[in-house]
Protein backbone atom coordinates (compact mmCIF):
# COMPACT_ATOMS: atom_id res chain seq x y z
CA UNK A 1 0.00 0.00 0.00
CA UNK A 2 2.98 2.29 0.48
CA UNK A 3 5.04 2.74 -2.65
CA UNK A 4 4.17 5.54 -4.96
CA UNK A 5 1.08 4.23 -6.69
CA UNK A 6 -1.21 7.20 -6.40
CA UNK A 7 -4.23 5.14 -7.42
CA UNK A 8 -4.00 2.67 -4.55
CA UNK A 9 -6.49 3.45 -1.81
CA UNK A 10 -5.92 3.13 1.90
CA UNK A 11 -8.44 0.87 3.58
CA UNK A 12 -10.36 2.94 6.13
CA UNK A 13 -12.68 1.85 8.91
CA UNK A 14 -15.98 3.59 9.48
CA UNK A 15 -16.12 4.46 13.19
CA UNK A 16 -19.41 6.27 13.35
CA UNK A 17 -22.39 7.10 11.14
CA UNK A 18 -24.40 10.26 11.74
CA UNK A 19 -27.66 10.86 9.94
CA UNK A 20 -27.68 14.59 9.27
CA UNK A 21 -30.84 14.88 7.18
CA UNK A 22 -33.04 12.63 5.15
CA UNK A 23 -30.41 12.47 2.36
CA UNK A 24 -27.13 13.47 4.03
CA UNK A 25 -24.94 11.36 6.29
CA UNK A 26 -21.62 12.09 7.97
CA UNK A 27 -19.04 9.36 8.58
CA UNK A 28 -16.18 9.30 11.05
CA UNK A 29 -13.38 7.12 9.72
CA UNK A 30 -9.83 6.10 10.47
CA UNK A 31 -6.91 4.22 8.95
CA UNK A 32 -7.25 0.46 9.26
CA UNK A 33 -3.46 0.25 9.22
CA UNK A 34 -2.62 2.63 12.06
CA UNK A 35 0.97 3.02 10.91
CA UNK A 36 -0.36 4.97 7.93
CA UNK A 37 -2.10 7.51 10.11
CA UNK A 38 0.99 9.37 11.26
CA UNK A 39 2.13 9.75 7.66
CA UNK A 40 -1.12 11.37 6.62
CA UNK A 41 -1.90 15.07 6.64
CA UNK A 42 -4.32 17.30 4.78
CA UNK A 43 -5.52 20.88 4.70
CA UNK A 44 -9.02 22.37 4.86
CA UNK A 45 -10.55 22.50 1.41
CA UNK A 46 -8.84 19.41 0.03
CA UNK A 47 -10.78 16.44 -1.26
CA UNK A 48 -10.22 12.74 -1.76
CA UNK A 49 -11.50 9.81 -3.79
CA UNK A 50 -13.56 7.54 -1.56
CA UNK A 51 -14.63 4.10 -2.70
CA UNK A 52 -16.99 1.33 -1.91
CA UNK A 53 -15.26 -1.77 -3.24
CA UNK A 54 -17.38 -3.27 -5.99
CA UNK A 55 -19.29 -0.01 -6.55
CA UNK A 56 -16.58 2.49 -7.42
CA UNK A 57 -15.07 5.80 -6.43
CA UNK A 58 -16.63 9.20 -5.79
CA UNK A 59 -15.26 12.60 -4.81
CA UNK A 60 -15.85 14.26 -1.44
CA UNK A 61 -14.03 16.81 0.63
CA UNK A 62 -12.59 15.93 4.02
CA UNK A 63 -15.12 17.69 6.22
CA UNK A 64 -13.23 17.47 9.51
CA UNK A 65 -10.51 19.88 10.58
CA UNK A 66 -6.78 19.14 10.32
CA UNK A 67 -6.55 20.44 13.89
CA UNK A 68 -8.57 17.42 15.06
CA UNK A 69 -6.91 14.28 13.85
CA UNK A 70 -8.42 11.65 16.20
CA UNK A 71 -10.56 10.65 13.27
CA UNK A 72 -11.41 12.01 9.83
CA UNK A 73 -14.88 12.88 8.59
CA UNK A 74 -16.73 13.08 5.30
CA UNK A 75 -20.33 13.98 4.61
CA UNK A 76 -22.30 12.67 1.70
CA UNK A 77 -25.50 13.67 -0.01
CA UNK A 78 -27.23 10.80 -1.77
CA UNK A 79 -27.05 11.58 -5.49
CA UNK A 80 -26.41 8.41 -7.47
CA UNK A 81 -24.78 5.01 -7.50
CA UNK A 82 -21.77 5.36 -5.21
CA UNK A 83 -23.39 7.81 -2.81
CA UNK A 84 -26.35 5.42 -2.38
CA UNK A 85 -23.91 2.62 -1.51
CA UNK A 86 -22.11 4.92 0.94
CA UNK A 87 -25.41 5.60 2.68
CA UNK A 88 -25.66 1.85 3.41
CA UNK A 89 -22.37 1.91 5.38
CA UNK A 90 -22.46 0.77 9.00
CA UNK A 91 -19.98 1.23 11.83
CA UNK A 92 -17.06 -1.16 11.28
CA UNK A 93 -17.42 -1.30 7.50
CA UNK A 94 -14.43 -0.58 5.32
CA UNK A 95 -14.00 1.89 2.49
CA UNK A 96 -11.21 2.90 0.15
CA UNK A 97 -9.64 6.34 0.41
CA UNK A 98 -6.98 8.03 -1.70
CA UNK A 99 -5.91 11.60 -1.31
CA UNK A 100 -5.79 14.31 -0.21
CA UNK A 101 -5.89 16.09 -3.55
CA UNK A 102 -6.28 19.63 -4.77
CA UNK A 103 -5.45 22.96 -3.19
CA UNK A 104 -6.78 24.36 0.06
CA UNK A 105 -8.11 27.47 1.73
CA UNK A 106 -5.12 29.84 2.03
CA UNK A 107 -4.94 30.20 5.82
CA UNK A 108 -2.05 32.65 5.60
CA UNK A 109 -4.29 35.08 3.69
CA UNK A 110 -7.03 34.78 6.29
CA UNK A 111 -4.81 35.61 9.27
CA UNK A 112 -5.74 38.89 10.95
CA UNK A 113 -8.91 39.16 8.89
CA UNK A 114 -12.60 39.17 9.68
CA UNK A 115 -14.08 36.01 8.23
CA UNK A 116 -17.59 35.59 6.87
CA UNK A 117 -18.63 32.01 6.11
CA UNK A 118 -21.70 31.52 3.97
CA UNK A 119 -22.83 27.92 3.50
CA UNK A 120 -25.87 26.27 1.99
CA UNK A 121 -26.98 22.64 2.54
CA UNK A 122 -24.18 20.10 2.10
CA UNK A 123 -21.93 23.06 1.17
CA UNK A 124 -21.15 23.46 4.85
CA UNK A 125 -19.00 20.30 4.64
CA UNK A 126 -15.80 21.92 3.30
CA UNK A 127 -16.51 25.13 5.24
CA UNK A 128 -16.80 23.38 8.60
CA UNK A 129 -13.33 21.93 8.13
CA UNK A 130 -12.02 25.47 7.79
CA UNK A 131 -14.29 26.86 10.51
CA UNK A 132 -13.03 24.40 13.12
CA UNK A 133 -9.51 25.01 11.91
CA UNK A 134 -10.01 28.76 12.50
CA UNK A 135 -11.77 28.32 15.84
CA UNK A 136 -8.97 26.07 17.10
CA UNK A 137 -6.60 28.98 16.45
CA UNK A 138 -9.12 31.65 17.36
CA UNK A 139 -6.59 34.40 18.25
CA UNK A 140 -5.15 34.42 14.76
CA UNK A 141 -8.33 35.82 13.25
CA UNK A 142 -10.61 38.79 13.89
CA UNK A 143 -14.44 38.54 13.83
CA UNK A 144 -15.93 35.24 12.72
CA UNK A 145 -19.42 35.31 11.22
CA UNK A 146 -21.18 32.19 10.02
CA UNK A 147 -24.37 32.17 7.97
CA UNK A 148 -25.81 28.75 7.24
CA UNK A 149 -29.02 28.00 5.44
CA UNK A 150 -31.02 25.03 4.22
CA UNK A 151 -34.39 24.45 2.62
CA UNK A 152 -36.21 23.49 5.82
CA UNK A 153 -35.34 22.82 9.48
CA UNK A 154 -35.17 19.10 8.63
CA UNK A 155 -32.56 19.88 5.96
CA UNK A 156 -30.11 21.55 8.34
CA UNK A 157 -26.92 19.48 8.54
CA UNK A 158 -24.31 19.52 11.29
CA UNK A 159 -26.84 20.65 13.95
CA UNK A 160 -24.29 19.77 16.65
CA UNK A 161 -21.84 22.24 15.07
CA UNK A 162 -24.52 24.90 14.69
CA UNK A 163 -25.32 24.57 18.39
CA UNK A 164 -21.66 24.80 19.38
CA UNK A 165 -21.11 27.91 17.27
CA UNK A 166 -24.37 29.40 18.58
CA UNK A 167 -23.00 29.06 22.12
CA UNK A 168 -19.56 30.38 21.24
CA UNK A 169 -19.32 34.09 22.14
CA UNK A 170 -16.48 34.49 19.69
CA UNK A 171 -18.72 33.53 16.76
CA UNK A 172 -21.59 35.47 15.20
CA UNK A 173 -23.85 32.61 14.20
CA UNK A 174 -26.88 32.96 11.92
CA UNK A 175 -29.03 30.07 10.79
CA UNK A 176 -31.85 30.43 8.30
CA UNK A 177 -34.29 28.17 6.44
CA UNK A 178 -36.16 28.82 3.21
CA UNK A 179 -39.37 27.46 4.74
CA UNK A 180 -40.02 26.96 8.45
CA UNK A 181 -42.37 24.50 10.14
CA UNK A 182 -44.57 24.70 13.26
CA UNK A 183 -41.63 24.00 15.61
CA UNK A 184 -39.20 26.40 13.94
CA UNK A 185 -38.69 29.61 15.87
CA UNK A 186 -35.58 30.72 14.03
CA UNK A 187 -34.97 32.87 11.01
CA UNK A 188 -36.85 32.25 7.76
CA UNK A 189 -35.45 33.56 4.49
CA UNK A 190 -33.14 32.76 1.63
CA UNK A 191 -29.41 33.07 2.29
CA UNK A 192 -28.64 36.07 0.00
CA UNK A 193 -31.23 38.49 1.51
CA UNK A 194 -30.36 37.35 5.03
CA UNK A 195 -26.71 38.02 4.24
CA UNK A 196 -27.56 41.52 3.06
CA UNK A 197 -29.60 42.08 6.23
CA UNK A 198 -26.69 41.01 8.46
CA UNK A 199 -24.58 43.30 6.31
CA UNK A 200 -20.99 42.35 7.21
CA UNK A 201 -18.50 45.10 6.40
CA UNK A 202 -16.01 44.26 3.64
CA UNK A 203 -13.33 46.18 5.55
CA UNK A 204 -10.42 43.78 6.22
CA UNK A 205 -12.77 40.87 5.58
CA UNK A 206 -12.74 37.70 3.50
CA UNK A 207 -15.95 35.87 2.62
CA UNK A 208 -15.83 32.11 2.09
CA UNK A 209 -18.85 30.54 0.47
CA UNK A 210 -19.94 27.09 -0.62
CA UNK A 211 -23.28 25.64 -1.61
CA UNK A 212 -25.51 24.77 -4.54
CA UNK A 213 -24.76 26.71 -7.75
CA UNK A 214 -27.92 28.82 -7.60
CA UNK A 215 -27.21 29.88 -4.02
CA UNK A 216 -23.60 30.73 -4.91
CA UNK A 217 -24.77 32.85 -7.81
CA UNK A 218 -27.04 35.03 -5.69
CA UNK A 219 -24.68 35.07 -2.71
CA UNK A 220 -21.95 36.50 -4.95
CA UNK A 221 -24.35 39.21 -6.07
CA UNK A 222 -25.17 40.06 -2.47
CA UNK A 223 -21.50 40.16 -1.49
CA UNK A 224 -20.86 42.51 -4.38
CA UNK A 225 -23.68 44.75 -3.18
CA UNK A 226 -22.10 44.78 0.27
CA UNK A 227 -18.87 46.03 -1.31
CA UNK A 228 -16.80 42.85 -1.35
CA UNK A 229 -14.31 42.71 -4.22
CA UNK A 230 -13.70 39.48 -6.13
CA UNK A 231 -10.35 39.08 -4.36
CA UNK A 232 -12.13 39.00 -1.03
CA UNK A 233 -14.32 36.06 -1.92
CA UNK A 234 -13.23 32.43 -1.78
CA UNK A 235 -15.31 29.56 -3.03
CA UNK A 236 -14.91 25.93 -4.09
CA UNK A 237 -15.89 24.62 -7.52
CA UNK A 238 -17.33 21.27 -8.41
CA UNK A 239 -16.83 19.38 -11.65
CA UNK A 240 -17.22 15.72 -12.43
CA UNK A 241 -14.00 14.03 -11.29
CA UNK A 242 -12.53 10.57 -11.60
CA UNK A 243 -8.76 10.58 -11.15
CA UNK A 244 -8.47 13.63 -8.90
CA UNK A 245 -4.92 14.23 -10.17
CA UNK A 246 -5.17 15.95 -13.54
CA UNK A 247 -5.02 12.94 -15.86
CA UNK A 248 -8.46 11.61 -16.70
CA UNK A 249 -9.38 14.79 -18.54
CA UNK A 250 -12.89 15.59 -17.34
CA UNK A 251 -12.82 18.29 -14.69
CA UNK A 252 -11.41 21.20 -16.69
CA UNK A 253 -12.87 24.64 -17.15
CA UNK A 254 -10.74 25.92 -19.99
CA UNK A 255 -7.12 25.10 -19.17
CA UNK A 256 -7.85 25.02 -15.45
CA UNK A 257 -8.18 21.52 -13.99
CA UNK A 258 -10.42 21.85 -10.96
CA UNK A 259 -8.90 18.74 -9.33
CA UNK A 260 -5.33 19.96 -9.58
CA UNK A 261 -5.59 23.75 -9.77
CA UNK A 262 -8.60 23.91 -7.44
CA UNK A 263 -11.09 23.22 -5.99
CA UNK A 264 -10.55 26.46 -3.99
CA UNK A 265 -10.53 29.67 -6.03
CA UNK A 266 -10.99 33.35 -5.38
CA UNK A 267 -13.87 34.84 -7.28
CA UNK A 268 -11.30 36.99 -9.07
CA UNK A 269 -9.60 33.87 -10.42
CA UNK A 270 -12.93 32.46 -11.56
CA UNK A 271 -13.79 35.67 -13.38
CA UNK A 272 -10.43 35.42 -15.15
CA UNK A 273 -10.89 31.87 -16.43
CA UNK A 274 -10.27 32.11 -20.13
CA UNK A 275 -13.04 29.81 -21.14
CA UNK A 276 -15.93 29.66 -18.78
CA UNK A 277 -18.11 26.83 -19.91
CA UNK A 278 -20.97 27.67 -17.56
Amino acid sequence: MEGDNVYLPHVMKIEKVIRETQNIKTFHFNFKDESQKSKFSFKSGQFAEYSIFGEGEATFCVSSSPTRMDYLEFSVMKAGKVTAAIHELQEGDEIGFRGPYGNWFPLELLEGKNLVFVGGGIGLAPLRSLIWNVLDNRDTYEDVTILYGARSPADLSFKYDLEAWEKDDAVNMYTTVDNGDEDWTGRVGLIPPVLEEIGPSPENTVAITCGPPIMIKFTLMSLEKLGFTNDQILTTLEMKMKCGIGKCGRCNIGNIYVCKDGPVFTNAQIQNFLSNEF
Binding site: S51, I52, M239, G246, N252
Partner: protein, 340 residues
Protein backbone atom coordinates in the same frame (compact mmCIF):
# COMPACT_ATOMS: atom_id res chain seq x y z
CA UNK B 1 26.58 6.66 -34.44
CA UNK B 2 26.92 5.32 -37.97
CA UNK B 3 24.10 3.86 -40.00
CA UNK B 4 23.57 0.11 -40.07
CA UNK B 5 21.37 -1.89 -42.37
CA UNK B 6 19.54 -5.18 -42.46
CA UNK B 7 18.08 -7.09 -45.37
CA UNK B 8 14.30 -7.28 -45.13
CA UNK B 9 14.41 -11.05 -45.56
CA UNK B 10 16.45 -11.17 -42.36
CA UNK B 11 13.80 -9.38 -40.29
CA UNK B 12 12.04 -12.59 -39.36
CA UNK B 13 15.26 -13.99 -37.89
CA UNK B 14 15.92 -10.72 -36.13
CA UNK B 15 12.41 -10.65 -34.63
CA UNK B 16 12.67 -14.24 -33.45
CA UNK B 17 15.91 -13.37 -31.73
CA UNK B 18 14.69 -10.14 -30.17
CA UNK B 19 11.51 -11.72 -28.85
CA UNK B 20 13.49 -14.21 -26.78
CA UNK B 21 14.17 -11.83 -23.88
CA UNK B 22 11.47 -9.28 -24.34
CA UNK B 23 7.97 -8.66 -25.66
CA UNK B 24 8.19 -7.58 -29.27
CA UNK B 25 5.30 -5.80 -30.94
CA UNK B 26 4.99 -5.30 -34.69
CA UNK B 27 2.27 -3.90 -36.95
CA UNK B 28 -0.24 -6.59 -37.80
CA UNK B 29 -3.66 -6.89 -39.37
CA UNK B 30 -4.56 -10.15 -37.69
CA UNK B 31 -7.38 -8.68 -35.60
CA UNK B 32 -9.25 -7.29 -38.59
CA UNK B 33 -7.75 -3.83 -38.09
CA UNK B 34 -4.14 -2.76 -38.05
CA UNK B 35 -2.54 -2.51 -34.65
CA UNK B 36 0.63 -3.47 -32.81
CA UNK B 37 0.44 -7.15 -31.95
CA UNK B 38 2.94 -9.45 -30.24
CA UNK B 39 5.34 -10.94 -32.76
CA UNK B 40 3.96 -14.36 -33.68
CA UNK B 41 6.89 -15.72 -35.68
CA UNK B 42 4.99 -15.66 -38.94
CA UNK B 43 5.32 -12.86 -41.41
CA UNK B 44 7.59 -9.85 -41.17
CA UNK B 45 6.30 -8.33 -44.40
CA UNK B 46 4.53 -5.34 -42.82
CA UNK B 47 7.09 -3.04 -44.39
CA UNK B 48 5.43 -3.82 -47.72
CA UNK B 49 1.85 -2.92 -46.90
CA UNK B 50 1.85 -0.88 -43.72
CA UNK B 51 1.24 2.85 -43.68
CA UNK B 52 0.05 3.33 -40.14
CA UNK B 53 -1.96 1.44 -37.55
CA UNK B 54 -5.63 2.11 -36.92
CA UNK B 55 -5.11 1.85 -33.18
CA UNK B 56 -2.10 3.91 -32.12
CA UNK B 57 0.78 2.53 -30.05
CA UNK B 58 -0.63 4.37 -27.00
CA UNK B 59 -2.71 1.22 -26.52
CA UNK B 60 0.45 -0.67 -25.52
CA UNK B 61 1.14 1.76 -22.69
CA UNK B 62 -2.36 2.90 -21.83
CA UNK B 63 -4.50 -0.10 -22.73
CA UNK B 64 -8.20 0.34 -23.56
CA UNK B 65 -9.07 -1.70 -20.46
CA UNK B 66 -6.64 -2.29 -17.64
CA UNK B 67 -6.99 -3.77 -14.16
CA UNK B 68 -5.35 -1.41 -11.65
CA UNK B 69 -5.84 -3.31 -8.45
CA UNK B 70 -7.67 -6.23 -6.96
CA UNK B 71 -9.71 -6.01 -3.76
CA UNK B 72 -10.59 -9.07 -1.75
CA UNK B 73 -12.65 -9.33 1.38
CA UNK B 74 -11.48 -11.93 3.87
CA UNK B 75 -11.88 -12.48 7.61
CA UNK B 76 -9.70 -9.45 8.33
CA UNK B 77 -11.54 -7.19 5.95
CA UNK B 78 -10.32 -5.88 2.65
CA UNK B 79 -6.92 -6.61 1.16
CA UNK B 80 -5.72 -4.55 -1.76
CA UNK B 81 -3.40 -6.05 -4.31
CA UNK B 82 -1.58 -3.72 -6.66
CA UNK B 83 -1.71 -4.93 -10.26
CA UNK B 84 1.24 -3.17 -11.86
CA UNK B 85 2.54 -4.21 -15.30
CA UNK B 86 5.24 -6.85 -14.94
CA UNK B 87 8.20 -4.74 -16.04
CA UNK B 88 9.25 -7.09 -18.85
CA UNK B 89 11.21 -5.15 -21.48
CA UNK B 90 9.24 -4.34 -24.61
CA UNK B 91 10.31 -3.45 -28.10
CA UNK B 92 7.79 -1.76 -30.34
CA UNK B 93 8.97 -2.07 -33.91
CA UNK B 94 7.68 0.12 -36.71
CA UNK B 95 6.36 3.19 -34.89
CA UNK B 96 5.76 6.14 -37.23
CA UNK B 97 7.37 9.50 -36.37
CA UNK B 98 3.98 11.09 -35.58
CA UNK B 99 3.15 8.35 -33.08
CA UNK B 100 6.57 8.55 -31.48
CA UNK B 101 5.90 12.25 -30.91
CA UNK B 102 2.49 11.40 -29.51
CA UNK B 103 4.11 9.20 -26.89
CA UNK B 104 6.30 12.12 -25.82
CA UNK B 105 3.15 14.18 -25.48
CA UNK B 106 1.33 11.62 -23.33
CA UNK B 107 4.55 11.14 -21.31
CA UNK B 108 4.29 14.75 -20.19
CA UNK B 109 0.75 14.30 -19.00
CA UNK B 110 1.26 10.98 -17.23
CA UNK B 111 4.37 12.19 -15.41
CA UNK B 112 3.09 15.66 -14.50
CA UNK B 113 2.91 16.22 -10.70
CA UNK B 114 1.66 12.71 -9.94
CA UNK B 115 3.38 9.75 -11.58
CA UNK B 116 1.02 7.38 -13.31
CA UNK B 117 2.78 4.11 -12.51
CA UNK B 118 0.83 1.97 -14.99
CA UNK B 119 1.67 4.01 -18.04
CA UNK B 120 5.17 4.98 -16.95
CA UNK B 121 6.31 1.49 -15.94
CA UNK B 122 5.50 0.28 -19.43
CA UNK B 123 7.10 3.30 -21.05
CA UNK B 124 10.30 2.97 -19.07
CA UNK B 125 10.60 -0.66 -20.09
CA UNK B 126 10.00 0.03 -23.76
CA UNK B 127 12.35 0.67 -26.66
CA UNK B 128 10.70 2.41 -29.58
CA UNK B 129 11.94 1.45 -32.99
CA UNK B 130 10.67 3.98 -35.47
CA UNK B 131 9.99 3.46 -39.14
CA UNK B 132 10.19 6.49 -41.40
CA UNK B 133 7.30 7.03 -43.82
CA UNK B 134 7.93 6.85 -47.53
CA UNK B 135 4.26 6.92 -48.47
CA UNK B 136 2.23 9.18 -46.19
CA UNK B 137 -1.57 8.91 -46.34
CA UNK B 138 -3.56 11.71 -47.94
CA UNK B 139 -4.96 12.45 -44.45
CA UNK B 140 -1.52 13.12 -42.92
CA UNK B 141 -0.52 16.65 -41.91
CA UNK B 142 2.31 15.98 -39.46
CA UNK B 143 4.55 18.55 -41.16
CA UNK B 144 2.26 21.30 -39.86
CA UNK B 145 3.17 20.19 -36.35
CA UNK B 146 6.96 20.10 -36.62
CA UNK B 147 7.08 16.43 -37.42
CA UNK B 148 8.90 14.97 -40.40
CA UNK B 149 7.88 11.71 -42.02
CA UNK B 150 11.52 10.85 -42.69
CA UNK B 151 13.15 11.59 -39.35
CA UNK B 152 12.48 11.50 -35.63
CA UNK B 153 14.19 12.42 -32.40
CA UNK B 154 11.32 10.88 -30.45
CA UNK B 155 12.27 7.24 -31.11
CA UNK B 156 15.15 5.20 -29.72
CA UNK B 157 16.12 3.76 -33.06
CA UNK B 158 14.99 4.87 -36.49
CA UNK B 159 14.60 2.61 -39.51
CA UNK B 160 14.25 3.82 -43.08
CA UNK B 161 13.00 1.58 -45.83
CA UNK B 162 15.39 1.87 -48.78
CA UNK B 163 14.01 -0.99 -50.85
CA UNK B 164 15.38 -4.43 -50.06
CA UNK B 165 16.90 -3.20 -46.86
CA UNK B 166 16.09 -1.22 -43.73
CA UNK B 167 18.60 1.41 -42.73
CA UNK B 168 18.98 1.80 -38.96
CA UNK B 169 20.22 4.68 -36.91
CA UNK B 170 20.36 4.86 -33.13
CA UNK B 171 18.75 8.00 -31.71
CA UNK B 172 19.02 7.37 -27.97
CA UNK B 173 21.25 5.32 -25.66
CA UNK B 174 18.52 2.73 -25.47
CA UNK B 175 18.55 2.56 -29.24
CA UNK B 176 22.34 2.30 -29.31
CA UNK B 177 22.13 -0.53 -26.86
CA UNK B 178 19.54 -2.38 -28.92
CA UNK B 179 21.50 -1.85 -32.09
CA UNK B 180 24.60 -3.35 -30.54
CA UNK B 181 22.64 -6.48 -29.64
CA UNK B 182 21.25 -7.07 -33.10
CA UNK B 183 22.87 -9.62 -35.34
CA UNK B 184 22.69 -9.76 -39.11
CA UNK B 185 23.45 -6.06 -39.54
CA UNK B 186 26.03 -4.58 -41.84
CA UNK B 187 27.46 -1.11 -42.30
CA UNK B 188 25.46 1.16 -44.57
CA UNK B 189 27.17 3.18 -47.29
CA UNK B 190 27.04 6.94 -47.67
CA UNK B 191 24.94 6.40 -50.77
CA UNK B 192 22.38 4.45 -48.84
CA UNK B 193 22.27 7.17 -46.24
CA UNK B 194 21.52 9.76 -48.87
CA UNK B 195 18.89 7.54 -50.38
CA UNK B 196 17.09 7.44 -47.02
CA UNK B 197 17.31 11.23 -46.78
CA UNK B 198 15.92 11.57 -50.29
CA UNK B 199 13.03 9.27 -49.54
CA UNK B 200 12.31 11.33 -46.42
CA UNK B 201 12.35 14.56 -48.39
CA UNK B 202 10.08 13.20 -51.05
CA UNK B 203 7.66 11.89 -48.40
CA UNK B 204 7.58 15.38 -46.96
CA UNK B 205 6.66 16.79 -50.35
CA UNK B 206 3.83 14.31 -50.74
CA UNK B 207 2.09 15.79 -47.71
CA UNK B 208 -0.24 18.47 -48.96
CA UNK B 209 -2.79 18.64 -46.19
CA UNK B 210 -1.99 21.39 -43.70
CA UNK B 211 -3.12 23.35 -40.73
CA UNK B 212 -1.84 26.80 -39.94
CA UNK B 213 -0.67 27.00 -36.34
CA UNK B 214 0.57 30.58 -36.45
CA UNK B 215 -1.36 32.71 -34.00
CA UNK B 216 -3.60 29.74 -33.36
CA UNK B 217 -3.64 30.16 -29.58
CA UNK B 218 -5.27 33.58 -29.88
CA UNK B 219 -7.60 32.40 -32.60
CA UNK B 220 -8.73 29.45 -30.50
CA UNK B 221 -9.35 31.76 -27.59
CA UNK B 222 -11.52 34.11 -29.57
CA UNK B 223 -13.44 31.24 -31.18
CA UNK B 224 -14.53 29.97 -27.79
CA UNK B 225 -17.59 32.16 -27.54
CA UNK B 226 -18.54 31.60 -31.18
CA UNK B 227 -21.40 29.23 -30.53
CA UNK B 228 -22.61 29.42 -34.09
CA UNK B 229 -19.30 28.11 -35.38
CA UNK B 230 -19.20 25.20 -32.97
CA UNK B 231 -22.81 24.29 -33.61
CA UNK B 232 -22.13 24.35 -37.30
CA UNK B 233 -19.03 22.13 -37.25
CA UNK B 234 -20.58 19.67 -34.81
CA UNK B 235 -23.88 19.19 -36.57
CA UNK B 236 -23.04 15.87 -38.23
CA UNK B 237 -21.04 14.39 -35.34
CA UNK B 238 -22.72 11.34 -33.80
CA UNK B 239 -20.77 11.43 -30.52
CA UNK B 240 -19.48 7.93 -31.24
CA UNK B 241 -16.08 8.72 -29.72
CA UNK B 242 -14.06 6.92 -32.44
CA UNK B 243 -11.95 10.02 -33.06
CA UNK B 244 -10.78 9.99 -29.45
CA UNK B 245 -10.13 6.26 -29.32
CA UNK B 246 -7.92 6.26 -32.41
CA UNK B 247 -6.17 9.49 -31.45
CA UNK B 248 -2.60 8.84 -30.25
CA UNK B 249 -2.69 11.76 -27.80
CA UNK B 250 -6.20 11.40 -26.35
CA UNK B 251 -5.79 10.10 -22.83
CA UNK B 252 -9.13 10.50 -21.06
CA UNK B 253 -10.19 7.58 -18.92
CA UNK B 254 -12.76 6.31 -16.50
CA UNK B 255 -12.13 4.27 -13.36
CA UNK B 256 -14.72 1.74 -12.25
CA UNK B 257 -15.08 -1.39 -10.16
CA UNK B 258 -16.15 -4.84 -11.21
CA UNK B 259 -19.49 -5.45 -9.63
CA UNK B 260 -18.31 -7.86 -6.96
CA UNK B 261 -17.85 -6.73 -3.38
CA UNK B 262 -15.98 -9.86 -2.23
CA UNK B 263 -13.34 -10.21 -4.92
CA UNK B 264 -13.09 -7.83 -7.82
CA UNK B 265 -10.88 -5.51 -9.73
CA UNK B 266 -10.72 -1.77 -10.12
CA UNK B 267 -10.43 -1.11 -13.81
CA UNK B 268 -9.38 1.83 -15.93
CA UNK B 269 -11.05 2.23 -19.34
CA UNK B 270 -10.62 4.62 -22.21
CA UNK B 271 -13.31 7.27 -22.00
CA UNK B 272 -14.20 10.09 -24.37
CA UNK B 273 -15.03 13.75 -24.05
CA UNK B 274 -17.46 13.10 -26.92
CA UNK B 275 -19.80 11.19 -24.59
CA UNK B 276 -22.49 13.19 -22.76
CA UNK B 277 -22.02 11.15 -19.56
CA UNK B 278 -18.34 12.10 -19.39
CA UNK B 279 -19.04 15.23 -17.34
CA UNK B 280 -22.49 14.43 -16.00
CA UNK B 281 -22.96 15.44 -12.38
CA UNK B 282 -25.99 14.96 -10.16
CA UNK B 283 -27.24 18.53 -10.61
CA UNK B 284 -25.84 19.63 -13.94
CA UNK B 285 -23.70 18.81 -16.94
CA UNK B 286 -21.53 21.58 -18.38
CA UNK B 287 -21.16 19.70 -21.68
CA UNK B 288 -24.59 18.32 -22.18
CA UNK B 289 -24.83 19.72 -25.70
CA UNK B 290 -22.80 18.21 -28.53
CA UNK B 291 -21.27 21.47 -29.72
CA UNK B 292 -19.81 22.05 -26.26
CA UNK B 293 -18.14 18.64 -26.36
CA UNK B 294 -16.68 19.21 -29.84
CA UNK B 295 -15.44 22.58 -28.68
CA UNK B 296 -13.84 20.96 -25.66
CA UNK B 297 -11.97 18.41 -27.80
CA UNK B 298 -10.39 20.94 -30.14
CA UNK B 299 -9.77 23.55 -27.49
CA UNK B 300 -8.15 20.94 -25.32
CA UNK B 301 -5.80 19.79 -28.09
CA UNK B 302 -4.94 23.12 -29.61
CA UNK B 303 -5.26 25.54 -26.71
CA UNK B 304 -5.40 24.15 -23.17
CA UNK B 305 -2.78 21.45 -23.66
CA UNK B 306 -0.49 23.96 -25.26
CA UNK B 307 -0.99 26.40 -22.38
CA UNK B 308 -0.33 23.74 -19.77
CA UNK B 309 2.39 21.67 -21.44
CA UNK B 310 3.81 23.87 -24.19
CA UNK B 311 2.85 21.58 -27.02
CA UNK B 312 -0.22 21.09 -29.18
CA UNK B 313 -1.79 17.71 -28.43
CA UNK B 314 -2.16 16.71 -32.07
CA UNK B 315 0.48 15.17 -34.29
CA UNK B 316 -1.33 15.37 -37.61
CA UNK B 317 -1.55 11.58 -37.85
CA UNK B 318 -4.88 11.96 -39.61
CA UNK B 319 -6.52 9.00 -37.88
CA UNK B 320 -9.55 10.96 -36.72
CA UNK B 321 -10.12 12.07 -40.32
CA UNK B 322 -9.77 8.54 -41.69
CA UNK B 323 -11.94 6.84 -39.09
CA UNK B 324 -14.77 9.29 -38.48
CA UNK B 325 -17.93 7.76 -39.93
CA UNK B 326 -19.31 11.15 -40.97
CA UNK B 327 -16.10 12.84 -42.16
CA UNK B 328 -15.54 15.34 -39.42
CA UNK B 329 -12.12 16.75 -40.34
CA UNK B 330 -9.80 18.39 -37.81
CA UNK B 331 -7.97 20.30 -40.56
CA UNK B 332 -11.25 21.84 -41.69
CA UNK B 333 -12.15 22.76 -38.13
CA UNK B 334 -8.81 24.44 -37.47
CA UNK B 335 -8.87 26.02 -40.93
CA UNK B 336 -12.33 27.39 -40.16
CA UNK B 337 -11.09 28.90 -36.90
CA UNK B 338 -8.16 30.54 -38.66
CA UNK B 339 -10.61 32.00 -41.17
CA UNK B 340 -13.02 33.41 -38.55
Amino acid sequence: MGYKKIKKDQLKTLFNELSKDCSLFVPSGSKGYVGFDPWDGNSADFTEWYRNTTIPPKALFFPPVEAMLRFRKGEAGYEIEELLPNGRPQIVFGVRPCDARALKITDTLFSDTYRDPYYLTRRENATIVGLACNEPCDTCFCTSLDISPGESQDVDLLCSDIGDELLMEAVSDKGEDLLSKMSGLSEASGEEESKAKQLGDSAKEKITRQIDTSGLLDKMRSSFENREYWEDVSRKCMSCGICTYVCPTCHCFDICDENNKKDGKRVRNWDSCKFPLFTRMPMENPRHEKWRRIRQRYHHKFEYFQMNFETIACTGCGRCIRECPVNVDVTEIIGGIQAL
